[in-house]
């Protein structure tokens, strides 16, 4: 028989000490929508489950026009889309948190957990990358920051050391005339895993893209920031043709596999379609019009 320990720290310090003690045996329990499924499947045997739902720093949800968004790693999806100010400021993030799982899952699942699980298909991650989100990571030895696009390093693996904990995510305040969007493709309409996904953000000015970022889901071992798509956008006029070039760059950057969820060829094609559609929507959200 296998036993599992359960710990419920109430301070960050206590939490960090547990992770320092148990190292790779320690598994953070926030919503548990990934962890409990993995445990039932026989993973994480003899582990130490550390329930992080009672650590204040991991449950903070705060927005300021100058500071941007502080999103505690354990904050469940429903709190994010339930906050009117956050919803107005970050529609691209809202796209993902209202799409992950179903209503019941959204009551428990956290964006931080979605990120730490490091699935290539994680819906929240491309949106966070597009929004230039940064991870605040802590251990008993101190704190460090890491951009979200560097956080996932392989399927199911992230850049944190065994004794580190993701405390929160920080999203810069949305620039004027900016908009973001996340779209994914699934064969059904809900309750499914992305065959491909595209998270984008744009900032407009004088009829041009001042900034643009595109990140993809499910088409590489990790969520993928497509630098060349951003390059295709920046400084260019807000036109369909420019968006098409960025979409083509996304397609070119994707390196998907063929599996039961789709062929590689189909997924590359979807990257182009989704990037184009997401950029068109982001432009509208930024108050722009497409020529």
């Amino acid at each position: 028989m296998h036993s599992v320990q359960y710990h419920r720290p109430v301070t960050l310090d206590e939490c960090l000490r547990l992770f320092d003690r148990f190292g790779k045996q320690a598994r953070a329990l926030a919503g548990g929508t990934d962890l409990l499924v993995q445990m039932r499947a026989g993973h994480c045997r003899n582990g130490a489950v550390v329930d992080v739902k009672h650590v204040p720093e991991l449950n903070e949800l705060r927005f300021g026009t100058s500071d941007g968004l502080t999103l505690g790693a354990a904050v469940p999806c429903y709190r994010i889309y339930g906050d009117a100010t956050v919803s107005r400021a970050y529609p691209g993030l809202i796209d993902t948190v209202s799409m992950i799982g179903g209503t019941q899952i959204q009551g428990r699942a956290s964006v931080g957990g979605n990120l730490c699980n490091a699935a290539p298909s994680a819906d929240a991650v491309p949106a966070l990358i597009a929004l230039r989100a940064v991870c605040r990571i802590a251990s008993v030895r101190g704190e460090r920051e890491l951009p979200v696009d560097q956080f996932c390093i392989a399927p199911g693996r992230n850049a944190m050391a065994d004794n580190e904990v993701l405390v929160s995510l920080h999203v810069p305040p949305p620039p004027e005339h900016s908009g973001a969007c996340y779209l994914r493709f699934i064969p059904r309409n809900e309750m499914d895993i992305a065959v491909a996904g595209a998270g984008v953000s744009v900032t407009l000015g004088n009829g041009t893209f001042r900034d643009g970022r595109v990140a993809l889901a499910s088409v590489a071992p990790t969520p993928l920031l497509v630098e060349k798509a951003g390059v295709a956008l920046r400084g260019q006029p807000v036109e369909h043709e420019v968006i098409a070039r960025a979409a083509a760059a996304a397609k070119a950057a994707a390196r998907p596999i063929t599996d039961m969820r789709g062929t590689a060829e189909y997924r590359k094609h979807l990257c182009e379609v989704l990037t184009r559609r997401a950029l068109e929507k982001a432009v509208l959200r930024a108050g722009g019009t497409l020529a």
Partner: protein
């Protein structure tokens, strides 16, 4: 003909107003031509309260004192020889009470058994329960453990060490039919056109039925379309996994509680497998969370029984979802070819089909009914049907709602659609011009009795949906028709009259689709009392006469008939009791709608029931039936789809199901059956498939990646109940559960063709498949 509206309060179908409401017609029509007092009404279901409050006892709810938990060890390989099995490590683990393998089963010999829907060699039934020398599919059960709890059992099962010699596998019929394909069964001799051949192959049987001469027919045709098609292996997808609890009692009786479509079949098959008298086995069917044909076979019951005998304790085994996908029978994947020729006047001159169905690991793919159904809707002089039953390295097929018919219809109804298009004819008119009628003979021999093929097609043509304009770009409309026979088999029913005028109804048919109520209503109609005054109960195999499986859409038809006959006996007895009270002859007593009269005296059913003790004691009657007047059912669909040409995703925009049910005893349940069959057909059409690696392992054995449609993927399914009374049943019932899954596959395909011009010849018509087909144009 009257059109009765659905009462939305009882069905809850006002939830999501679809295009139906907008267009001002009733989304649930009943085209009735015969009315009764109770039959045809919509009383509250007898099992409703227990089911909505969670009180209903399902298989996994059964726990006896001292229960041990079982686990099954399954093959990781699709095809392999078992070299050795070492159970020693598992046996020594703490908490493990027993371990067993195929060696613990009695010798099967060369016996033939009926396992619910046909005859099968017992050795195959044994082999599928626990593999002996070879494993034939991934998930094939090899060994089992009973332990103090489910975790220990799983742990112990994984500690059993099996050495395999992995063999090449065949995953599709064409693959397994190759001369060089590895044989699954060394002793399988191909039955060729009814004769034993001397050929050993993976083809268990090849049959051919002909009528007229297809060569002559095709020579007369002005337009000929020939295409081949493939369909994927799909699972019934019942939500409740298989469960069993077994107690081999010290008095020698074996008690089983399980989720099954047929308690008596489990009793008979288990007693045969274990080589014990049938009377020693008592099976209690629990409430069932879906079956669709998949809960007819016996899987874990003999294993739990033997583990119980070894340990002297009750043993319970519950499958996981993965085990359900890997270890239980899905329906056949198929490879088919259909050729149809018609003359310029729209008359079909010749029809030819070649059907190769995957049986899975053991023969019995349901290609025979597939061949019987493929052209059942058409009256054509020249027909030829070839069928091949092919074993492959996948789980052994089980029945799935109209087994064999949907795959055949996917081929035939697309070719029909294409012929109609080429001739410039409306697809419904073309079908009407060639529709099967009473007296039409099928290629497999039988002549149709009274059927509703024409009436169903007329209802499609007249339905507002058929003439409604499409409402967006990339939309298309498809129609198709399908057939299923339905079954009669055997049923029993007992009625016990209570002194307050209610009646306990005892029956043995697992209630899958609301049959407690539809059976009770038929008794109520005869007795002239309300459906609510009948208290139906499904009991164990010791407590009611033999009753065949809930399958073949037979339960409302046949067990309902037994209830009808038992009720007639109660009426006769009531007349005798009234005659006694009134001092007249029983023949003088008249009965109408629950009131008995003679010579000016009158008494109600309730009044006579109250006097039972004074007139001779309890009133009770039983009836058993083996009815022959089974009526086949035709079902048709009108489907609107919208295709996203950039992603290949198909959305079902509007869907109307039309079906001849004979008589809808409880129209709400009939609508539920029609909607359920439609939804399963849509899932089969669009996304469901066993996604197999080349090594024969299933890659999507979860409900996440085995994509059944959710409510968000479907419009409200509108229904149109057509009632062409079956002259072979007291109330005209035909059976409604199955024909409705047949037309959705081709109807959706025809709609996709109408929308974007591609002919989908392979299932599922998933987004990547539709996109790839579009990219080729």
């Amino acid at each position: 003909m009257t059109v009765a509206a659905t009462d939305s309060e009882t069905t809850g179908q006002d939830r999501k107003p679809g295009p139906a409401a907008a267009n001002g017609y009733e989304p649930n029509m009943v085209l009735a031509n015969q009315t009764f007092d109770i039959v045809g009404s919509r009383p509250v279901r007898h099992d409703g309260a227990d089911k909505v409050t969670g009180r209903a006892v399902y298989g996994a709810d059964v726990t006896l004192p001292g229960t041990l938990h079982g686990a099954i060890l399954r093959s990781p390989h699709a095809h392999a020889r078992i070299l050795s099995i070492d159970t020693s490590r598992a046996e020594q683990m703490d908490g493990v009470h027993a371990v067993m393998t195929a060696g613990d089963l009695p010798d099967a010999g060369d016996k033939i058994v009926d396992v619910g829907e046909g005859d099968t060699p017992l050795a195959y039934v044994h082999g599928n329960v626990l593999a002996k020398d070879k494993v034939l599919y991934q998930g094939h059960a090899v060994a089992a453990v009973a332990a103090s709890n489910a975790h220990v059992a799983l742990e112990a099962a994984s500690a059993i060490n099996i050495e395999y010699d992995v063999l090449p596998c065949s995953l599709t019929a064409p693959d397994a039919m190759r001369p060089e394909a590895a044989l699954l069964h060394d002793d399988l001799v191909t039955k060729e056109l009814g004769e034993e051949s001397n050929r050993r192959s993976n083809v268990a049987e090849h049959f051919r039925w002909t009528k007229g001469d297809v060569e002559t027919g095709f020579a007369r045709a002005d337009t000929i379309v020939e295409r081949s098609f493939d369909t994927a292996t799909v699972h019934q997808g019942y939500i409740e996994p298989h469960t069993v609890t077994a107690l081999w009692n010290h008095d020698g009786r074996l008690l089983l509680w399980c989720s099954t479509q047929g308690a008596f079949v489990v009793r008979d098959v288990v007693s045969t497998i274990l080589d014990i008298p049938v009377s020693t086995v008592k099976v209690t069917p629990t409430e069932i969370g879906g079956g669709f044909g998949g809960k007819i076979p016996v899987y874990m019951e003999p294993v739990a029984a033997l583990l119980s005998r070894k340990t002297g304790r009750p043993v319970k085994i519950v499958m996981s979802r993965e085990e359900v996908f890997l270890g239980t029978g899905p329906t056949a994947g198929t490879h088919t070819r259909v050729k149809i020729g018609a003359s310029a006047d729209g008359k079909i001159q010749a029809m030819e089909a070649e059907l190769a169905y995957e049986a899975g690991a053991y023969p019995g793919s349901f290609v025979v009914p597939g061949g019987m159904c493929v052209f059942a809707a058409y009256d054509c002089e020249n027909v030829a049907v070839d069928g091949y039953d092919v074993v492959v390295n996948k789980p052994s097929c089980a029945a799935y709602r109209a087994p064999g018919s949907p795959q055949a219809a996917f081929a035939a109804e697309q070719v029909i659609d294409e012929v109609a298009l080429r001739l410039g004819l409306d697809p419904v008119e073309f079908r009407l011009l060639n529709a099967a009628r009473e007296g039409t003979r099928r290629a497999d021999g039988p002549k149709f009795r009274r059927i509703g093929c024409v009436e169903v097609l007329e209802a499609v043509k007249n339905h507002p949906h058929y003439s409604a304009p499409l409402v967006g770009p990339n939309q298309g409309r498809g129609v198709a028709i399908g057939f299923w026979f339905n079954a009669g088999l055997e049923s029993s029913c007992t009625l016990n009259v209570n002194t307050n005028g209610t009646v306990n109804l005892v029956e043995g048919s697992t209630d899958i689709g609301g049959t407690r109520t539809s059976i009770a209503m038929q008794a109520a109609e005869v007795l002239g009392i309300s459906a609510q005054d009948i208290l139906p109960e499904v009991v164990d195999t010791d407590s009611v006469g033999f009753t065949s499986v809930t399958g073949g859409s037979r339960t409302t038809f046949a067990t309902g008939w037994a209830a009808h006959d038992a009720a007639q006996k109660v009426v006769d007895e009531m007349k005798t009791r009234a005659a006694m009270l009134w001092a007249v002859e029983p023949e003088q007593v008249e009965h109408s709608k629950g009131t008995y009269t003679a010579n000016g005296s009158s008494a109600t059913f309730q009044e006579l029931a109250a006097q039972a003790s004074r007139t001779g004691g309890p009133i009770s009657a039983s009836a058993t039936v083996k009815p022959r007047g089974v009526g086949g059912s035709f079902a048709a669909n009108i489907v609107d789809v919208e295709v996203d040409p950039e992603t290949g995703k198909v959305d079902i925009v509007r869907f109307t199901a039309v079906q001849d049910v004979g008589k809808a005893v409880h129209p709400s349940y009939v609508e539920g059956q029609m909607q359920g069959g439609s939804v399963q057909g849509i899932g089969w059409a669009l996304n469901e498939e066993y996604f197999m690696g080349e090594d024969g392992t299933m890659r999507n054995s979860t409900l996440l990646d085995y994509r059944m449609p959710t409510t968000l993927d479907l419009p409200m399914i509108d229904t149109c109940i057509v009632e062409v009374a079956n002259p072979g049943h007291p109330f005209g019932v035909r059976g409604v559960g199955e024909a409705n899954i047949v037309p959705p596959l081709p109807a959706v395909a025809n709609a996709i063709h109408d929308a974007v011009g591609v002919r989908m010849q392979r299932l599922p018509m998933s987004p990547p498949a539709v996109w790839a087909a579009l990219a080729k144009t």
